[in-house]
Symmetry: C2
Subunit: 151 residues, 2 copies
Amino acid sequence: MSFMNFSKTTEYAFRILSYMAMDERKLYISRDIHKDLQIPFRYLRKQLTSLSKSELIHSVQGKNGGYMISKPLENISLLDIMDAVGDNSLESSCFFGFQTCALKEKCTMHTKWALVLKSIKDVLTTTSLSELKESGPHSFISNNNLLFTKN
Amino acid sequence: MSFMNFSKTTEYAFRILSYMAMDERKLYISRDIHKDLQIPFRYLRKQLTSLSKSELIHSVQGKNGGYMISKPLENISLLDIMDAVGDNSLESSCFFGFQTCALKEKCTMHTKWALVLKSIKDVLTTTSLSELKESGPHSFISNNNLLFTKN
DNA sequence: CATAAATGACACCTCGGGGTATTATTAAGC
DNA sequence: GCTTAATAATACCCCGAGGTGTCATTTATG
């Protein structure tokens, strides 16, 4: 029983992108990303090729290939990353989960919850990879020096 | 692809409790709750018996039985309801989903996200059923007059 | 041009949240 | 005390997010 947190896929995307933000000109290979980010290798691979179809990163095939960020870091927000993985869970909707709620104005929770969602969205919109590069979790990782314990 | 919203189970619990808040002295039967709340009947039954094991509502068995709220409305917050269904997804944790993050202070998102979670938690803690009784979605439902369209 | 080292494509598996079916139990009321 | 109308218990099913396995493709380099 849980939720009200991000999906694994979204989490992984956050990890990957903020990791690659460490050096925006570097070609990262999946093996290394996997090593540092604790994402199941095959699933990571799947997600990387999927992300490569977005505007955020691109891939280089063949030997010495890899993945690189495609845009200036300050132009990639956390919300952009959610978009890239198709996570649109911040669309404001009825707090009680009714598909068509007839009480948009009258129900207390409607306005209360819209405000909450807006504040979340604000944080995710205003936080860009350039900020995470400075003080994100991955700014401290050196390739063979893992700061996060497994599991 | 979604999430960052409540689980169905939590949503249903919100619906059920705010519905029963309409009349805190009434014994509600599952059939009627089902009619008005668009929750699959069997699943609703399951959830009602499960909720009956919490402090929030109790059941009366046998003919003319049903379910009734157990505590004063002002003593039941939305967070209490989440607790009752075992939804603890608001425990603050690492934004990137790392089980053990070594960077509690240093990572930008750590503090940012803790604040977001706190503001959500505040809303859910300060909103009680008494408030929803006044202006919640169910305050407008009369038994045969459904304000919410199906599906 | 053969090999190695990288990504791409695609099919499959697993597990748990959400949902269903069936039978048992409780208690009112004629 | 039989019937009826309610809840309780239990076992099962389904589907999609998350995860795995295998083979194909691309490209650098000796």
